[in-house]
C-alpha cells in the first residue's frame, strides 16, 4: 500500500524541534522513503512556537500535506495549535513532564526528560527519546535510528552510546505502555535506491562549489545566511573564500572586484539586502561583470517577516536599478533545480558578462527533500575567457562592439594587454565618453546579449495532460504544491484532499524556473490553448501574471495568491480553486 504519512514536531525555540525533525527525516530516508520537511520558526532564539513538519511517501514528495497523522509535542502550545489537523485516530505523543493534559485515546504521554536522564545520563537526550518514542509507535526499525546516531556522533562514541541507550528506553517505553496502538506501521524498504536529503540552502551552496565559485561575500540576512555559512565551513577544503562584508553594499562591490579580476564570485541576501545592492547590480550591468546574486525572498517591505516565506520580489529584481541593461533571472522550484541552477547561473554570467539573479525563498531555502544524488558529470564550467595567445596585445578592447554583444574577455594581468572596466558610459577601450553615437551603440550592444541568453532559457515545466482545460501557472518554490494540486484535481491525489475537490475540468501546471529573458513564444503557445488560467503566487498582486500579460498579451484571470508568510499546500490551492 502507498504510504502518505505526515507528522509535526513542535515546541519552543531552543527545545530542539529542528533536531527532532532532522533525525526523524534521516531515519525515514535511510529506511528507503522519500520525505519533504518544512521548518516553521519565529524570529527569536528562545521561547515562542517552532515546528517542523515531515511528510513521508514511497515516491518523490514535493509538498507538505495539511492533515497530520502524528504530533510530537514538546510543549503544550504544540497541542493547542496543531491538534485540529490531526486525522481521525491519529496519534499525539507529548512530554508528560512538561505538558499536563487529560489522558485520552491516542494521546500518549512519555516522560522524555526522565528517560533521558535515567538511561542516557543527561536531559539533552530528551530529543532522542522523543524520536525513538515516535518510531516505537510506528513500529519502525530502531536499528536505523542507531545508525543515524552513530553517524551524527561518530567522533564522540560515548555520546553516541548514551543517545542509543536513551533511544532504546524511549522506544521500549512506548511499546510497553502503548503497544496496543496499531493504526500505523511504517516498514523500511530494503534495497531502496539511496537518496540525498538536503535543504535548498545546502543544494545552492553545493551547486556554487560545483560551479567553481571561489568567492562569496555577504552580510548575514535570513533566509540566505545558511549558504555563506555552509560555504565558509568548506572554504579550506575546496579553496574558496567566504567573507562577511560590513554591509550589503560592500558585499556586492567586493564580488564585482573579484569577478573583474577573474574569480567566480557571488553574494547571497534577501530582499532588504538586495535593496542595498541595487546600485552594484546596475554597475555589473554597465561594466559587464559576471556576478551571481542569490536573493532568498522573505515577506517585506523593510523588515517584514524575517523567518517566513514570500515570492514578492520578482518584479523588483527584474527592474531593479536606474536605466536599463540585460540581466538573467532564475527561480529554481525544487532542491534539485536549486543545485543545477548554480552552475548554469555562473556559466551564463560569464558567457554573457552580466549579473545573474537566482531567486529563492524561505520555503525553498529551509525545506529539505529527498533527491537523487546530484550528477556531477552534468556540471560543466564554461568560462568564456580568452586564452593568452588570443588576446590582442596591441589593441585589446574590453567593450569591443560585436554582433552577439559579447566582447571577448581577458583578465587584468593576464597579458600585457590592459583591461579597463568602467562605470561611466564608455568607449570600446573602456574609457569615459559622452559621445551620443557610442552611447547608443553601447546600449544596443549590451542588449544584444539578451537575444543569445534567451535561447539558453529552459522552457517552463509542463505537468499534466497536454490538452488540459485549466493551467495553473507558477514559478519558484510553489512547484511542489501546484504539482500535487494538479494530481489531486485530476484524481490521482490522496483521498483525504481529493474528496474536498470539485473535479470538473482537466488541469495542468506550467512552472517557470528560469524567468528572464522571458521565454515568450513557448509560454504563449502553452497558455493560449487553455480555457482558464490561474496564477499561483506568493505575493498580493500576481507579479508573474503581470509579466505574462506584458510579454504575451495573455491575461491570467484566475489568481490564487498567498502573502501570509506561509508556504502553499496543495490542499489550499484546490480549495481556493473551488471558491
Amino acid at each position: 500500500m502507498q504510504i502518505d504519512f505526515s507528522l509535526v514536531a513542535g515546541g519552543e525555540a531552543g527545545q530542539g524541534v529542528q533536531t527532532v525533525g532532522q533525525m526523524l527525516a534521516k531515519v525515514f530516508v535511510k529506511g528507503g522513503r522519500d520525505v519533504f520537511v518544512i521548518q516553521d520558526f519565529e524570529s527569536r532564539i528562545r521561547g515562542g512556537h517552532n515546528f517542523t513538519q515531515i511528510r513521508v511517501k514511497d515516491e518523490p514528495v514535493y509538498a507538505i500535506a495539511e492533515a497530520i497523522d502524528l504530533i510530537i509535542a514538546l510543549d503544550k502550545q504544540t497541542i493547542d495549535l496543531h491538534s485540529d489537523k490531526l486525522v481521525e485516530g491519529g496519534a499525539l505523543i507529548f512530554d508528560s513532564e512538561n505538558v499536563k493534559i487529560e489522558p485520552k485515546t491516542n494521546l500518549f504521554g512519555v516522560p522524555l526528560g526522565e528517560i533521558a536522564i535515567k538511561e542516557g545520563g543527561n536531559k539533552l537526550y530528551a530529543n532522542t527519546v522523543a524520536v525513538a518514542a515516535a518510531l516505537g509507535l510506528l513500529k519502525y526499525d530502531i536499528e536505523i535510528l542507531n545508525n543515524v546516531i552513530n553517524e551524527s556522533f561518530g567522533k564522540r562514541p560515548e555520546i553516541a552510546q548514551n543517545n542509543i541507550k536513551a533511544a532504546k528506553a524511549g522506544y521500549e517505553y512506548v511499546q510497553k505502555h502503548f503497544g496496543h496502538y496499531n493504526k500505523y506501521e511504517l516498514k523500511t524498504i530494503p534495497d531502496a535506491p539511496k537518496k540525498m536529503l538536503l535543504t535548498g540552502t545546502e543544494a545552492m551552496a553545493l551547486g556554487a562549489i560545483a560551479a567553481g565559485c571561489k568567492f562569496v561575500s555577504a552580510y548575514p540576512m535570513s533566509p540566505s545566511t545558511g549558504i555563506i555559512t555552509y560555504l565558509a565551513g568548506k572554504a579550506k577544503e575546496f579553496g574558496l573564500v567566504a567573507e562577511q562584508a560590513e554591509d550589503e553594499i560592500a558585499a556586492i562591490n567586493l564580488i564585482i572586484g573579484a569577478a573583474c579580476a577573474g574569480a567566480r564570485a557571488m553574494t547571497v541576501t534577501s530582499g532588504g539586502g538586495f535593496s542595498l545592492m541595487v546600485e552594484g547590480l546596475g554597475l555589473a550591468g554597465v561594466m559587464e561583470v559576471p556576478i551571481v546574486i542569490i536573493e532568498a525572498q522573505r515577506p517585506g517591505p523593510a523588515t517584514g517577516l524575517p523567518t517566513r516565506t514570500a515570492q514578492a520580489d520578482l518584479e523588483f529584481v527584474l527592474h531593479a536599478s536606474q536605466d536599463e541593461f540585460p540581466r538573467i533571472i532564475l527561480a529554481p522550484g525544487t532542491v534539485e533545480e536549486a543545485f543545477y541552477a548554480m552552475p548554469k547561473a555562473f556559466n551564463l554570467a560569464e558567457k554573457y558578462q552580466l549579473p545573474v539573479i537566482v531567486l529563492s525563498d524561505q520555503h525553498l531555502a529551509d525545506s529539505s527533500m529527498t533527491v537523487d544524488k546530484f550528477d556531477l558529470s552534468k556540471v560543466t564550467i564554461e568560462r568564456h575567457l580568452l586564452a593568452d595567445e588570443e588576446v590582442n596585445l596591441e589593441e585589446y578592447k574590453r567593450y569591443k562592439i560585436t554582433e552577439s554583444g559579447v566582447s571577448p574577455r581577458a583578465l587584468p594581468g593576464q597579458t600585457r594587454a590592459l583591461v579597463i572596466n568602467d562605470s561611466h558610459e564608455h568607449s570600446e577601450d573602456g574609457h569615459i565618453t559622452e559621445d551620443p553615437k557610442i552611447r547608443t551603440e553601447m546600449v544596443l550592444k549590451r542588449f544584444r546579449k539578451l537575444s543569445g541568453a534567451k535561447a539558453e532559457i529552459k522552457p517552463p515545466t509542463f505537468y499534466g495532460p497536454d490538452d488540459a482545460e485549466v493551467i495553473l501557472v507558477g514559478w519558484g518554490a510553489t512547484y511542489g504544491a501546484i504539482r500535487e494540486a494538479v494530481d489531486i484535481l485530476n484524481g490521482d491525489g490522496s483521498a483525504a484532499v481529493r474528496n474536498s475537490a470539485q473535479r470538473k475540468m482537466t488541469v495542468a501546471m506550467m512552472h517557470l524556473s528560469e524567468i528572464w529573458p522571458f521565454p515568450t513564444e513557448t509560454i504563449s503557445n502553452i497558455l493560449s490553448k487553455a480555457k482558464k488560467l490561474f496564477a499561483i503566487e506568493g505575493n498580493a498582486t500576481a507579479q508573474l501574471a503581470h509579466l505574462i500579460r506584458a510579454e504575451t498579451g495573455i491575461a491570467v484571470t484566475g489568481k490564487i495568491l498567498k502573502f501570509d508568510g506561509r508556504p502553499f499546500s496543495p490542499g489550499y490551492i484546490v480549495r481556493e480553486m473551488d471558491c
Binding site: A210, G257, A265, G413, I432
Partner: protein, 283 residues
C-alpha cells in the same frame, strides 16, 4: 626598463592648475622608479574628479561606483593577489560615501595602496563641503560655514589599527613620489592622505596655505610608536606634518586566507572527487 612614456594616458580633463596633475605625475614616477609595468597594476577608483585618474595613465582599471573603491580593490586582490592594486580616489569617495568601507578595509588589511586625493571640497559636484572641510568653510550648500567637526583620516586609520598611515602634499612631488613607493612596497593596506589644493572651489586651502604649514617628519620621528603617532595625527593648523605617521607589521588579509596559499584564487580548480564525497554525506 619602464619609462614615463609607458604610462602616458589620455589627456586629463581636470582644471588647469589642479593638484590632481601632480598626484598623477608622482604616481607615475613612483611606478617607473619601482620598475613596475602598466599591465602589472590594477588602478581602482570610484567617482569624483580624483577618481578619473586611472583614465589619464596606463594600467588595468576598475572605475566603479562612488564610495565603493576599496571594496573593488579588496575583491580584486582576493581574486588575484599577484596584481599590484592601487586605489586612487577623493576625500568624498573614500571618507564620505565610502566611510564604512574605509573603516572595515583597514581592519581587513589587504595589501593595497590607497591614495586619497584630499582637497577638502567636492569638485565634481561644484563646491560643496567634504568630510575634511574645515570648520566655518562656506559653500553654496553650507551657507553659514561648515559646522560638522572635520574628519581626521589619519587619526581614524591609526585607531582602526591600520598598518601604514601617511600624509603627502601634492606641492612636493618628489616627497610624494617617494611616499607612494614606500606605500606600494609596504605589505598591507597603505594609506596616503594627499593634501591637494582645488583651484576652482577651495579658496581657503590653497597651494600657499599648505606650503606655509606643511613640514616633513624627520629621522627623529618614530612612526612605529602608536601613541606618538596618534598624537601626531592631532597636529593640524599652523603646522601640518607630512611623511609616514604610523606603520606596523600586521598580517595581510590575503596571507590569512587558507585558500590563497595554493596561488591566486581565480586559478584554483574544483576538486570534483572531493565534492562527490561531500554529496555522500547527505545520503
Amino acid at each position: 626598463m619602464v619609462t614615463m612614456d609607458d604610462y602616458q594616458g589620455k589627456d586629463a580633463t581636470w582644471c588647469p592648475g589642479c593638484g590632481n596633475f601632480l598626484i598623477l605625475r608622482a604616481l607615475k614616477m613612483a611606478l617607473v622608479e619601482l620598475d613596475i609595468a602598466p599591465h602589472e597594476i590594477l588602478l581602482v577608483s570610484g567617482i569624483g574628479q580624483a577618481a578619473k585618474l586611472p583614465h589619464y595613465m596606463k594600467g588595468n582599471v576598475i572605475n566603479g561606483l562612488h564610495g565603493r573603491t576599496l571594496s573593488y580593490a579588496t575583491g580584486a586582490k582576493i581574486a588575484n593577489h599577484d596584481l599590484i592594486v592601487i586605489a586612487t580616489s577623493g576625500d568624498g569617495d573614500l571618507y564620505g560615501e565610502g566611510g564604512n568601507h574605509f573603516i572595515h578595509t583597514i581592519r581587513r588589511n589587504p595589501d593595497i595602496t590607497v591614495i586619497a586625493h584630499d582637497n577638502q571640497v567636492y569638485g565634481l559636484t561644484k563646491g560643496q563641503a567634504s568630510p575634511t572641510s574645515g570648520l566655518g568653510f562656506v559653500t553654496r550648500l553650507q551657507t553659514d560655514g561648515v559646522i560638522l567637526s572635520p574628519f581626521n583620516p589619519i587619526a581614524l586609520a591609526i585607531s582602526a589599527n591600520a598598518s601604514f598611515v601617511s600624509r603627502g602634499f601634492s606641492g612636493d612631488i618628489n616627497h610624494l613620489s617617494k611616499l607612494i613607493q614606500t606605500a606600494i612596497q609596504h605589505k598591507g593596506l597603505a594609506l596616503i592622505d594627499v593634501l591637494q589644493p582645488c583651484v576652482s572651489f577651495n579658496r581657503v586651502n590653497t597651494f600657499t596655505w599648505y606650503r606655509d604649514r606643511v613640514y616633513k617628519l624627520g629621522d627623529d620621528y618614530d612612526p612605529t610608536n602608536k601613541i606618538a603617532a596618534f598624537q601626531k595625527s592631532q597636529e593640524w593648523g599652523d603646522k601640518i606634518p607630512i611623511g609616514v605617521i604610523y606603520t606596523q607589521d600586521r598580517p595581510t588579509f590575503e596571507e590569512q586566507l587558507p585558500a590563497l596559499k595554493e596561488g591566486p584564487l581565480f586559478k584554483i580548480e574544483v576538486d570534483y572527487a572531493l565534492l562527490d564525497n561531500l554529496l555522500e554525506e547527505f545520503i
